[in-house]
């Protein structure tokens, strides 16, 4: 028997984060209030202005691939490895028998960001064109002797679509395949698009994920240059404090994850565990101070309308909560506009308080936190939330609290104004 209307459910979770490389460890960190923001260990951080972040420790990509597939790791940068590992974990968690999936109905959609060159790979070529004029290189030497010093597959290490490509190849996923590159909202936009694709009957099974890293010398430099990062170098564990009055900037991080999004009957027929159903999605653009209304407000209202629920029906909001001075205030004002009049304070939970900003890898592990909250009937506390900020009129979770309603809302956005909202329902 099939439903008249197609429905999309989440049936698998894989996470690779600063607080855990598997679901039980990840959840324990939330339950116990254990954050993963620390001083950077991967390289000598001394020259940076922000010397800490949410770093993934103990990740060995070989653990996630069969022996015969491991040679592929040579052409996978760290971000791609996170993506591939996350997909593997999500599939395993879903319990699906891969041999029974129809490849043509198996889609892959990822959020990804700029992946700068691996500097060491360019080293020998760069030396060939060294000259004594700072800031310029000997281009003729690069084109001549230099190019040959670079590994042939170099470019494929940092093309964003390689996350979804490698995942599709490893799992024979021949359905729709897309890579969304809207940085910190990319994963949630990818989920929204996969949800639409599945509902309109172009796929039955999706791996939706995201991965990113800022914990590398060049990415940390770039983040330090163009983002307002926290400078709380003396107390990294207290640096990520979304909506708190003493927040002082974004915490760079790395990691990612994936979820399995599956058609409801497809999941039911195979007896798959269902974490939640995706019932509403909305996206919009808009920064504060514009003639047009707040983009986040419009995205949330579109998602609620599609879900057929009102603000009062939402158990908790899973926030973007950057820990940024301006953006947290902007987000809180948007949330307050939607939820302010609904008769009860709707709890706001900010997962970045545990691991910082994982960039394009953020949205999916953050969503997973709420899926697990429903699974365990417990919405985690937001770490480091000590002093409310009048500029942030939201009710932030200070202690773990039981789930009281069957819907949660996940929101994400970028500092430029791309916004997305997803409503999930506990079945």
């Amino acid at each position: 028997m099939t439903s008249a209307r197609r429905r999309a459910v989440l049936t698998g979770i894989g996470v690779l984060t600063p607080i855990g490389l598997d679901v039980p460890t990840f959840w324990d960190a939330f339950r116990n209030g254990q954050g993963g923001v620390r001083r950077i260990q991967a390289f000598d951080r001394s020259a940076l202005s922000t010397r800490f972040g949410g770093e993934v420790l103990g990740f060995d990509s070989r653990n996630y691939l069969d022996k015969k597939e491991r040679k592929r790791l040579n052409v996978m940068g760290r971000t791609i490895q996170f993506a591939v590992a996350g997909a593997q974990l999500a599939l395993a968690d879903s319990g699906v028998d891969k041999s029974r999936l129809d490849p043509a109905r198996f889609g892959v959609e990822y959020g990804a960001a700029t992946i700068p060159s691996e500097l060491e790979e360019l080293g020998p070529a760069a030396r060939v064109c060294a000259n004594c004029q700072p800031g310029t290189v000997h281009l003729a030497n690069w084109g001549g002797a230099g190019i040959g010093c670079i590994p042939p597959m170099w470019m494929l290490n940092h093309v964003p679509n390689m996350l979804a490509c490698h995942v599709s190849i490893l799992h024979n996923a021949q359905g729709p395949n897309n890579t969304i590159t809207q940085t910190d909202v990319a994963g949630l936009l990818a989920l929204g698009e996969a949800y639409r694709t599945l509902i309109r009957d172009r796929a039955d099974f999706f791996l939706v994920g995201g991965a990113d890293t800022m914990i590398s010398p060049i990415n940390m430099v770039r983040q330090c240059l163009f983002r307002r990062l926290s400078r709380r170098n003396d107390a990294p564990e207290r640096a990520s404090r979304p909506f708190d009055r003493l927040r002082d900037g974004i915490i760079p991080g790395e990691g990612g994850g994936a979820v399995v999004l599956e058609e409801f009957d497809h999941a039911r027929r195979r007896g798959g565990r269902i974490y939640a159903e995706v019932v509403g999605f909305g996206a919009a653009f808009g920064r504060s101070g514009e003639a047009a209304s707040h983009g986040l407000v419009r995205a949330i209202r579109a998602a609620l309308a599609e879900a057929g629920v009102g603000p009062e029906d939402i158990d908790h909001v899973n926030a973007q909560g950057y820990s940024a001075v301006d953006w947290d205030a902007w987000e809180a004002q948007g949330l307050s506009e939607v939820f302010g009049g609904c008769g009860r304070p709707v709890p706001v939970f900010a997962p970045k308080s545990y691991f910082g900003n994982l960039g394009a890898g953020s949205s999916i592990p953050e969503l997973a936190a709420s899926l697990l909250a429903f699974e365990h009937n417990l919405v985690p506390a937001t770490l480091n939330y000590k002093e409310p900020d009048p500029a942030c009129p939201v009710t932030v979770t200070r202690t773990p609290q039981p789930v009281s309603r069957p819907f949660f809302l996940k929101v994400s956005f970028t500092e430029l104004g791309q916004c997305a909202a997803v409503v999930c329902r506990k079945l």
Binding site: F43, D44, A47, S49, V75, V108, T114, S117, L119, E120, L122, P124, A126, R127, V128, T136, L139, A140, N141, W142, G143, G144, I147, P152, W154, M155, L156, V159, N161, M162, A164, C165, H166, S168, I169, N172, A173, Q174, G175, N177, N178, T179, T181, Q182, T183, L189, E193, R196, P217, I218, V221, L225, F226, A283, A284, F285, A291, A292, G417, Q418
Partner: protein, 428 residues
């Protein structure tokens, strides 16, 4: 009933013209946009030619070109093409439409890394014995030398944010980067957003330039580029036996997609209807397409099904046709599998023979060429077609444009990594 999607505006910046009219005139004449690389000194590179955009002045399209001062060509070209398309659709300063229902979906490539500062610093601080970098020294140098604004503009969400912000398009805002399939994919997904009701108007397309040292380096290392430096104007020769790789191009193509009733109510020009979209993955190899065109076949079929068409309804195919030995053979094979006996009757051409490969922008510019071909009743040729390849034996509209009418055209885009996109446009 499903909502229908009209194309109500188009804009381009390409190696063969900075307007749709100029571009289409040039491709019907069979012009080549290929020349020596002038954007940097490529004198010692394995490939020293490309199809560059010439004489581009952003100030002709926007009032505040300084807004894009630190942005890469991907963002600058997109702004110019978007301006043309919005103006064409009568939406530039249109206050009667709800701009929260107008979104952006681009397939825009990455910005350009600061090659000289980056490589100079790496060269200074690389320690060959240990094969590592002196990280603190590199970091200190990069913090000093990199331009923050220029670094930020390399982020992949900046192009569409500029478009939304500058042109006041407050709806959903997406960018996808699926290599050479991105522009087509963006248009297909944007059409789906209109069908679903997420927006009434979507500005969609692609924009990209990889004509910079690292871009040419990357493709050269993969042996993807033609190295026919001696005869560069004939280097892009899709389906010809002597093809030896693609020719890099740059540019942007943008269309305005609009819900059909919305377009009719406001009396917008309707250039064509976007009727079909197919999207699949080869799931085969990172660099090579599947030898039998597995993903491409299903993709074209999906697009036709989506449009409610049979293969014989298609009057023109704008091929991906990169001029690489593998793509053109596999695409030919895939077309034969989808079109069966019809395959030899449907004209196929590759605009890349003239424009080079615009990578993320290719699918968008080529879709616009399809719209113009349907409207004008002229199919642009595949130029440089001289020596038939026994494995590529379709009607490629060799060298001369052909006057012929069609109701429906199919446009293919296949990305490095295995993403396949097919779009169907139909006369309205």
């Amino acid at each position: 009933m499903r909502k229908r999607v009209a194309i109500t505006g188009m804009g381009v910046v390409t190696p063969l013209g900075h307007s749709v009219g100029e571009l289409f005139g040039a491709v019907v004449e069979g012009q080549s946009g290929v020349g020596p690389i002038t954007l940097f000194d490529a004198g010692t590179f394995p490939t020293r030619f490309a199809a560059e955009v010439k004489d581009f002045d952003l100030g002709r399209y926007v009032d505040e070109p300084q807004r894009w001062a630190h942005a890469g060509p991907n963002s600058r070209l997109a702004a110019a093409a978007a301006r043309q398309a919005l103006e064409d659709a009568g939406l530039l300063d249109n206050e009667t439409i709800d701009r929260t229902r107008c979104g952006v979906y681009m397939g825009t490539g990455e910005g350009v890394q600061d090659f000289h500062h980056l490589i100079w610093l790496v060269g200074q601080h690389y320690q060959p014995e240990q094969r590592t970098l002196d990280r603190p020294a590199f970091i200190a140098g990069a913090l000093r030398d990199f331009n923050p604004a220029r670094e930020f503009e390399q982020e992949l969400h900046t192009t569409t944010a500029h478009l939304a912000d500058y042109f006041r398009l407050w709806g959903p805002n997406y960018n996808c980067l699926t290599a050479c399939a991105a522009g087509g994919q963006a248009i297909g997904e944007a059409a789906e957003m209109i069908r679903h009701g997420d927006a009434e108007v979507m500005l969609a397309g692609g924009s990209h330039s990889m004509i910079h040292p690292l871009g040419v380096t990357g493709f050269s290392l993969l042996n993807a580029l033609s190295t026919n430096n001696a005869d560069y104007q004939h280097a892009s020769r899709p389906f010809d036996l002597r093809r030896d790789g693609f020719v890099l191009g740059e540019g942007s193509g943008v269309v305005i997609l609009e819900e059909l009733e919305h377009a009719r109510r406001r009396g917008a020009p309707i250039y064509a209807e976007l009727t079909g979209y197919g999207s699949t993955a080869d799931a085969f190899r990172v660099t090579d397409s599947h030898p039998e065109g597995r993903g491409a076949v299903v993709c074209m079929r999906e697009a036709l099904n989506d449009a409610g068409l049979l293969p014989e309804d298609v009057g023109y195919i704008n091929a991906h046709g990169t001029s690489t030995p593998l793509n053109d053979r596999v695409e030919t094979l895939a077309i034969k599998q989808v079109f069966g006996g019809q395959a030899y009757r449907v004209p196929v051409s590759s605009s890349k023979s003239m424009l080079g490969h615009l990578i993320a922008a290719a699918g968008a510019v080529e879709l616009i060429i399809c719209v113009m071909a349907l409207r004008r009743g002229v199919f642009p040729p595949t130029i440089n077609y001289e020596v038939p390849d026994p494995e590529c034996d379709l009607d490629y509209i060799a060298n001369d444009a052909r006057e012929q009418k069609a109701r429906h055209a199919l446009s293919n885009s296949f990305g490095f990594g295995g993403q396949n996109i097919s779009l169907v446009v139909s006369r309205y």
